[in-house]
Symmetry: C2
């Protein structure tokens, strides 16, 4: 095959398999990408969990000697999505790429408003229900053990439970109450988007980390639309089958950790 033909073929990413490169053995940020594939029945390769490449696939990407290639800068951190000759990082960026392709968001040509709002909602879920819960158990330094920053974590956990978590739940309940949701079953446009999957997964993780607090907030009834969305996504046929499969990784020492002393 000539170089030209080879190059043309490689650039035709759309027909290539999706390859997710993420740490093996935990849900983490990679879970948002897995759920997009699983909820739509889209074939994908979970490289570190399902192939002999294992963790080496991740380590090769984030090696400080990796300078990327002519069209792809190196990633700083996983998850990384490979699709043909495209190799991109950053969770919300990968979801932005997949959204229209998997029918989980409008393309910008179809609905420019929806395209950007699904992205904004996703960024806001990740801010408040993924990055902040991570920082609760690592408020000082990601490179230190939890035990070495436990005093700070106890203080931050109190603020997260009492102020930040209710603030974000209230916001998403408001989004679901507003007209752009199209009825309040899903965050935008009366249709499942990847923002709903991200909200489901992030709230699932927060529920693992703070089970008592989340149960108490649920009982208040102030966030009924958010918890109804959570239940609705969890019951989707393909999501339910995935969650019951051994492809679903267990929570462990990742973003969402259950330290009883940080809960109520």
């Amino acid at each position: 095959m000539s170089t030209r033909a080879s190059k043309r073929q490689k650039t035709d990413s759309e027909s290539e398999p999706y390859r997710l490169i993420y740490w093996p053995g935990l849900p983490g940020r990679g879970e948002h990408i897995r759920l997009a594939f699983e909820a739509t029945g889209t074939p994908y390769v979970d490289v570190s969990n399902a192939t002999s490449e294992g963790v080496k696939a991740v380590l090769g990407q984030i090696d400080t000697q990796n300078q990327g290639d002519e069209r792809n800068p190196p990633p700083l951190a996983p998850p990384v999505l490979e699709h043909g000759d495209l190799r991109i990082s950053q969770t919300p960026n990968i979801l932005l790429y997949l959204g229209g392709r998997l029918g989980l968001a409008p393309s910008p040509d179809q609905d420019l408003h929806g395209y950007h709002h699904v992205n904004a909602l996703t960024l806001t879920v990740l801010d408040g229900l993924s990055n902040e819960p991570h920082d609760v158990h690592h408020p000082v330094a990601t490179g230190l053990y939890y035990e070495d920053q436990k005093d700070e974590a106890l203080r931050k956990a109190k603020d997260y439970r009492e102020t930040r978590l209710p603030k974000f739940l209230d916001y998403f309940n408001r989004v679901l109450s507003g007209p752009a949701s199209g009825g309040g079953e899903y965050l935008y446009g009366n249709k499942l988007t990847y923002a709903d999957l991200v909200l489901f997964q992030a709230l699932d993780g927060v529920s693992h980390a703070f089970p008592k607090r989340v149960a108490n907030l649920r009982e208040t009834g102030d966030y009924d639309k958010v918890f109804a969305l959570y239940d609705r996504v969890k019951a989707l046929e393909k999501v339910k089958a995935y969650l019951e499969s051994d492809r679903r990784q267990k929570y462990g020492m990742g973003i969402y950790r259950h330290y009883p002393e940080l809960d109520e």
Copy 2:
């Protein structure tokens, strides 16, 4: 005018003025949006700083009673961009919208790789050189004063100076050394993109907060490509004129704060 005609006209966002809604009197996250307009000579209205609406424009948007409209969910926080009947939040989302329109990024049709890599690079700059420096002075709770979390801030500042800041500078130096940068003058494709403007502004803010540490890191020579990019962007004719104008807000009690005890 009939409702139908009115709706059609309002939906034609492209000919409408750009309106930035952000806190008045500080650069903050809004500065990334201002710089995109300023670097390209694009007319825009900096609503809170330049009109009689002032801070009320922000407060109206983030009011907990605001449920948005039929096509736009409410934002959780500023910056907010209004363009015709589009109203979107989240800094990287606004830049994604503006990038192709202002010539600061390829559109997805032109260059799908470039479109997503400029977004990913922007997300990574904001993670490491905007969100983390903010958390250095507010490691426990954004709702508490710095003075009430100073002990924790001193610990986190040490980690940021010694581990996190060099890690991010090293990463962007590597991106600038890689082939996708197209020569190392700009982060992607040998051309100024909004990711370069974001890197400039974030490094400018970090330099304000940690002047000694940044000067020492610059002197090592290990991050020459990053600092050369910083100098290059700062010297761009329109950027330079803007930075010298009174439209450029001064750093104060926002993301980038200079507390000498948190610097080296």
